[in-house]
Symmetry: C2
Amino acid sequence: MRRSSAQGVLYGQTVANVAGIANSDLECMDILYLEGRVSAGRLAEVTGLTTGAITGVVDRLEKAGLVRRERDEKDRRKVFISVVPETAMKIGQLYVPMQQAMEKVFGAYSDEELRLLLRFAVEGYKGVLAATEALKGLLDTPPEKRPNLKLKKLR
Amino acid sequence: MRRSSAQGVLYGQTVANVAGIANSDLECMDILYLEGRVSAGRLAEVTGLTTGAITGVVDRLEKAGLVRRERDEKDRRKVFISVVPETAMKIGQLYVPMQQAMEKVFGAYSDEELRLLLRFAVEGYKGVLAATEALKGLLDTPPEKRPNLKLKKLR
DNA sequence: AATATATATCTTAGTCGCTAAGAGATTTAG
DNA sequence: CTAAATCTCTTAGCGACTAAGATATATATT
């Protein structure tokens, strides 16, 4: 599964490269697909980038016609980002090979087996989230018991 | 699963950040763990970086004491990279939360269910590889039928 | 109402890893 | 025994990122 994950990252890099956008830009497109309309700050949160970096990401994506900025009328400090479906579709096409490959993989399982895989996917995601929390904890609490590499402070 | 994968990438970024090395550096450490002793060129191949970038990666990792360069005595152009286990272990410790979380997830399944998950992992990896191939094919064969974003040529 | 504090995004300067191109060293082919 | 191929490293320049602070708007305090 680690290998699949690594290979999946490579796939994404190729897509970004071909589409002529940066990796982070594509990552943000992905989030926008998954979460829909999202504020700039939330993008920073989810990607782990600074808000300054997100400004750059959205600038590039907007110039490429892939997303739109929309000021929130309720809270005029906020900027919502939303994908422009017609343009974003072109990038989506580059994922067709991946989708087909996955359909083929999943097609080999019975409904009951798929239920197990779904359960695993959900539980696995919870696990990764828990691990992320635990890592943060590991970094906050124990002072000097960690690998004494030169630690850079965490954002 | 896409979400898990994205979150896993974030986890890795945090690890790299804390360890004071670049993302690509950590990715290479990962590959070195999985594949053992590997040539600089192979690292470039697997990561999708240029050989020049790999030189930088290995320079930094070597300076941090995480890997060693070894010239191949059979073919003296080649440079093999291998991890220094004692030092690399310190980074490995940062993956303990992830390992524990995964053990917990997998612990909830019977042997038979685990066999299914293993089968899925193997087939899934094959699928991702196939998709990568298909993507390359998609880029080579049809000339102008692709998303007409400004295409950067592929490495 | 007026001021202070907090929040959300953007701006700027500087840093760092990456690519492209080519150099150096070694191996393989003709 | 020269020529071409292969592998790594070097160099110059570029572009995305961070850190810090500026700007604009919202919320809390008096």
